[in-house]
Amino acid sequence: MRRGSLLVVVAAVMGIVGGAAAPARADEPRGGSIVAIGSGPAPRITGALAARVGASGGGCRLRIGGWFGRVTAELVLSCAGVDTDDGHHDSLVLTGPSVGWLPIANPWFQLGVRGGLLAGTISGTRTAVAPCAGKDCAATPRDVDVDVHGFALALGATAQLALGARRGGRFTLWADLDAQLARFQFADAVVTGRITQLTIGIGYGHAF
């Protein structure tokens, strides 16, 4: 088993075991919201997708959502820079809903497992001869946008540490470990692979 998968499994097992050992408290918050951004090292890309794109530069993540009791719901956007097999530097962006379960839903610390479905693109620009409305521009090379569409089943774990009050507005430190089982439609074939991404960031929200 590769290191990324092992980390996800260990984090998930720790969360479930930890939650089972930690009964719900009467003073647990009923819920909270979060708007968060984070970044991390370049994701690890494996499978057939790795032959098409390789991660370069860091990854990033945007989270908007919150939790109700032990259930979380978020809109997630994850991004990374990738180098393509034809020598270009493109952007990989996946976004979509994510729901989770918090075995540990302490007012100060939450740890949970999460799953989501994300859709997005590997996008960049290429110099190509493109049709245009002008008289003499048909044979003139121009920059054109190129999108490779795809989607991913994202499974992962999230840990959050509150930095402020038990109720009301407060900042949060968080870390996400995600394994995204992705499928992209390139011009010549459908290519699958796994993108493992670690992100650490800060968020702000209201606990209620």
Binding site: R30, G69, V71, G96, L117, A119, H149, F151, Q185
Partner: protein, 256 residues
Amino acid sequence: MATRSDLRRARRASLVALIAALIAALVAARPAAACPDGGLELAIMTSRFTVAPVAGDRLGLDLWSRGISAAWGCGELRHQLVTIELEAPDAGDDAGQILRVGGYRAEVPLGAAALAFGLHLVVRWGDVTRFATPTIAVRVAPTPAVRLRAELTAGGAYLLAYDPAPRRLTEDLALDASAAWPAAAATRGEVRLRARRYTLAATARRDLTVTAGLGLALGARAGVRALPGFLGVAARVGDDPALLLVAEFAYGVAGP
């Protein structure tokens, strides 16, 4: 055989009639009866992923997603505003997408049923742009535990379009129908049917999808309706037949 100008005339007449009916309903409706929170529902996002589990030579993702939408009113008339909707029957194909920007729907209760009609203001249908395409829906609750719903969206009917090849009123249609039981439960059984007759990027798509699954209200609480979702399996017949997995997620709240 109907000429192009006949088609245009019929389309405009039907759209004008629909808009007139909409305005008449708005004017005729009495102010909404008082209800505790104005019946406000705010949805941040709703997404439906219909996935073919085994990759073929297509991506195998049929994506439908709606951005922020708000509904309010109770009693005589209920309103809904939708900011944006994206439908990608084959998400790997850039040209085969439908983008609807801005929409309004009015729902009028009729005893145990409700009739809704509205318009999508701007529709980018593949590579052409259309304005004011109509939608009509009916919701019936024969018993408190059962809810039936059907909606017809007519993408081929429009008031104006930058379209070199005008469609007939009976083209680019989508019919959605669903039945839920027990309708008010947090976890309920749902059967859905979706029939489409599209021409997108010069490619015809005729299919019928039947879905069975569980409707869920994962984080719902009294006074706050959040995280409704749906998980199911589906069979699609017609063009591109397949067995499918369906996951729908709606993130929103009801009431202030």
